[in-house]
């Protein structure tokens, strides 16, 4: 096991990694910019390292400075968290070249899945379903030919992109040609690479993703999550299991995902994202890192994914870390419980006895709401000083809080204030607990999306498990709330 892990991140995820390190008996070094000196992750880590400056480019994404700080802190491993440098293959190689273990997959895997047409090709060859699409589009002639072959509508996507940034939809040849130049400019601006490709736009898809773990030889899928409540392609609410998807269907796609990652010798935590439309799965992308919504899988499986990620990076094998039986999808808990919270542990063990006897019912449900610093009506980020920031302590509610009272939300970093994860033996209970947790979280000094989250968690479509990735935006468009009035969707 490592002796000292350097955390090249901030906020909610940095605190989560500090906690995992402490539980593993490993020292942690919190990196911090000049704006984050008073952040809780700095106080909780066993040591800290200043990254001078405040812009991300000078601090958390500055490869030279991050590696220099990790070296002088005497770290033997580095955790990149999510965002910032987490999916930068050059960073991963340079960390390794500095003699520090990168807690993530090999740079080659990050590169393979980072280039989206290559990722599509790899998945298709491995037998994973992909939506009709193109290779990289060089010019307008290739563009039109590819679109005619795929069929309308199509989506122009940046090849070096991901996370839904910089995509454009075209419903006709004229729209497509008009969107081509701006899509390339957008891709260049956001990812430093103007390459774009086409993919079929699926009708009202659900976003279903698979949590994968690999040790270089074997890969396991430990469950699925549904993340269909999105806005501007950013996830707002996530849950596990995915409501109403047949377990056989999930088991099949899970096995295909295992085969596709095993073919690359995948060595860490990763997520295979898919879209489910008209009962068919289609590949979306592979995220070669920990995800913001990992907590819902932890709550339904009893696994600690961050600890597992660190232990895999330290060379432990999956068969030592996970129980031998195939991980049942559909939210059924795994046999061994890493989590030591006793009531949950007991419940999981009895669930697993049921599962071994062939019981089909999912055992545990979890729903995560992301609290963002934003004005939900005007869709604008909100900056300011947190004059109140008081996470609730409630039964069946896990809170991942990244800030402390008195800290400022600045324009320099992302707007995620906290995550609230409600759990329970039924989906209804998990949703209710999430709602109560969101409501009870006292935050003042910035606008937040708590009213929007409550409106979603009460909405009949969401309660019925019948939402798709365009649902939230279409509801907001259909029912705009005037300033001061409650959001009703």
């Amino acid at each position: 096991m490592f002796r000292r892990v350097f955390i090249a991140n901030r906020g909610v995820v940095a605190r989560r990694i500090v906690r995992a390190c402490s539980e593993l008996g490993v020292e942690s070094v919190a990196a911090y910019s000049d704006l984050d000196r008073a952040a809780p992750h700095v106080a909780e880590a066993t040591a800290s390292a200043r990254l001078p400056g405040y812009r991300a480019a000078d601090t958390y994404v500055n490869i030279e400075r991050v590696i220099a700080a990790a070296k002088s802190a005497g770290a033997d491993a580095l955790h990149p968290g999510y965002g910032f440098l987490a999916e930068n293959p050059d960073f991963a190689s340079r960390v390794a070249a500095a003699g520090i273990a990168f807690i993530g997959p090999a740079p080659d895997a990050i590169r393979t899945f980072g280039e989206k047409t290559g990722a599509r090709r790899h998945m298709e060859q491995a037998g994973f379903p992909v939506a009709p699409g193109s290779e990289l589009i060089e010019d307008e002639r290739a563009l039109s030919a590819a679109a005619r072959r795929i069929g309308w509508p199509v989506m122009l996507k940046p090849a070096a992109g991901g996370g839904g940034i910089g995509m454009r939809v075209a419903r006709s040849e004229a729209e497509l040609v008009a969107a081509f130049a701006s899509a390339k400019a957008l891709a260049q601006g956001a990812f430093g690479n103007a390459a774009v490709y086409l993919e079929a736009l699926l009708p009202n898809p659900r976003h279903i993703e698979l949590q994968m773990l690999g040790d270089g030889e074997r890969v396991r899928c430990v469950g699925e999550r549904e993340c269909s409540v999105q806005r501007r392609h950013q996830k707002v609410i996530e849950e596990a299991p995915a409501p109403g998807v047949r377990s056989g269907h999930l088991a099949d796609i899970g096995e295909r995902a295992v085969a596709a990652l095993e073919a690359t010798g995948y060595t860490s935590l990763g997520t295979v994202e898919t879209l489910l439309a008209k009962r068919r799965f289609a590949f979306l992308e592979v995220n070669t890192r920990l995800q913001v919504e990992h907590g819902v899988t932890e709550e339904v499986t009893g696994l600690d994914l961050v600890q597992l990620q660190i232990r895999l990076a330290a060379g432990e094998r999956l068969d030592e870390l996970l129980p031998p039986e195939r991980a049942p999808l559909g939210g059924c808990a795994l046999a061994e419980v890493v989590n030591d919270s006793e009531p949950v542990g007991q419940q999981l063990r009895s669930n697993c006895r049921r599962a071994r006897k062939g019981a089909q019912a999912p055992a545990r449900f979890a729903v995560q709401a992301r609290i963002y610093a934003e004005d939900s009506r005007r869709m604008l980020p909100s900056t300011g000083t947190l004059s109140a920031y008081r996470p609730p302590r409630l039964t069946g509610v896990r809170v991942e809080a990244g800030y402390a009272e008195g800290q400022a939300m600045t324009p320099y970093y992302d707007p995620l204030l906290a995550k609230v994860i409600g759990t329970g033996a039924t989906r209804e209970l998990a949703i209710g607990r999430t709602l109560v947790g969101v409501k009870a979280f006292e935050i003042r000094g910035v606008d937040t999306n708590r009213d929007l989250l409550q409106a979603i968690l009460r909405h009949p479509d969401f309660l019925a498990g019948k939402v798709h990735t365009g649902w939230l935006e279409s509801r907001l468009k259909a029912a705009p709330a005037p300033a001061g009035a409650p959001l009703l969707l």
Binding site: R378, L380, P381, T383, M409, P411, D414
Partner: protein
């Protein structure tokens, strides 16, 4: 001829300036793109006219309600 002051809706940084002083613009044209909390926030022309003044440059920081450009309308 009326001068219309255009204000930033957020605290953030200027990412791109899409027009130059003297340019003719239509209602809804993007003048400036701001960046805040990893989101792009376009500043659009509220009506058609000519760009009279651009008061910010890329990488400048801006406050909420700060005037970032002035347009002369016909």
């Amino acid at each position: 001829m009326a001068r219309v002051q255009i204000e930033s809706e957020v605290t953030g940084n200027v990412w791109k300036v899409e027009v130059a002083a003297g340019d003719a613009v239509q209602e809804g044209d993007v003048l400036i793109i701001l960046e805040s909390m990893k989101m792009e926030i376009p500043v659009e022309a509220p009506e058609a006219g000519k760009v009279a003044e651009l008061l910010v440059a890329p990488e400048d920081s801006v406050e909420e309600d700060q005037v970032v450009a002035v347009i002369e309308t016909a």
